[in-house]
Symmetry: C2
Subunit: 194 residues, 2 copies
DNA sequence: GTCTATACGAAGATAGAC
DNA sequence: GTCTATCTTCGTATAGAC
């Protein structure tokens, strides 16, 4: 519980989030994440008694919260600004990693673990997506959209950005992302006031 | 090369595609796919000398071609019919698997293998996505859209459907998919003639 | 309380018996 | 040509020395 322990915890969670985004859930190993955090293997189970499932859960929540906070801040300037912040964050991840990193939340959702159920990380992923959609939808509604239309557009935004990330990684190109971004801006502009 | 070999090959590739869609790339093991094809482990390397990389590449191409053929057939009745076919295929996968299966092409794109490069499966995935987008874009263009708008909308369709699949798996619900589908139909209807 | 050393299973791949 | 048995590596997790 002292500050050194907290730092190790933070470093492990951050490393896990990066590994999830790059290599996927099953290739995100305790060994590697603890190594990146410069801590011995045994200490992983001291800080995270429930092992990998716990680290992954925290990594998803951590990455989700980062995006969520930025989204929330920029949405105060309206839905267009919020959308642009959401887009630029993911665009940056793709560019900086040379299209080798994606979304750590997605990673948890598309790999059903072989062993036991391990439902908790998946539920955390669902919560993160719902949070992003909810924040976008609320802003769209405040700016003149009815509840149903706002919710639908918010879901389209999250889905198409996540999907665009996949297309970009496959193609090793930002082009799909920019095509999607352009259209989303058009859709948000169309009915929401500035 | 006789028919029994071909059957084994086909069964292995089909099993691999299903495992990719459900468990992801790294959890798709040679052992399990050959077991599902009711063939001994050693024979995997007889039929697929390049091992897992080769099976995965063929599984991605196989799954991609299945979707592509259906898309092509329905697009002859126009872009709306093509979109509906694309949507209903993926909706069916989600419902029938109780939201435990996704897109095998995506699986390859979001998990950078830990070991060597293994670029071939990723390139196959890029080809599949480009094929789907190209077919959709061509149909949209024939039905009155300019080339740029057609290409952008085609990319949005593929990206948002792939992303919607992820959201549905996380939430264990078809609701995100239906929200996205509804909007895509609106967008295709808007400018493309029936 | 921290961490080294290890148990145990499963992965990809192959050698070599039939 | 087919397949059993095995090599090597890496995964999660823990026992027990300091």
């Amino acid at each position: 519980m002292n500050s050194r322990q907290s730092n190790v915890r933070q470093r492990v969670v951050a490393a896990a989030a990066e590994m999830l985004a790059r290599h996927g859930l099953n290739a995100t190993s305790i060994r590697e994440m603890i190594k990146r955090a410069k801590a011995p293997l045994g200490s992983a189970y001291h800080h995270f008694p429930q092992g990998k499932e716990q680290v992954v859960l925290e990594a998803v929540a951590f990455a989700g919260a980062q995006v969520s906070h930025s989204l929330e801040r920029h949405l105060q300037a309206g839905p267009v600004a919020g959308l642009r912040s959401f887009l630029s964050m993911w665009r940056e991840v793709l560019i900086r990693s040379d299209f080798r990193m994606g979304c750590p939340v997605m990673a948890v959702a598309v790999e059903e673990p072989v062993g036991e159920a391990a439902k908790r990380p998946l539920e955390a992923a669902a919560k993160v997506f719902a949070d992003w959609e909810g924040k976008l939808a609320a802003a769209l509604q405040v700016h003149g959209r009815d509840a149903r239309s706002a919710a639908e557009l918010a879901t389209l935004i999250v889905a198409s950005v996540e999907g665009a990330i996949v297309l970009c990684r496959a193609r090793r190109s930002i082009s799909p992302f920019d095509k999607v971004a352009r259209q989303l801006e058009g859709l948000v502009h169309a009915q929401a006031s500035h």
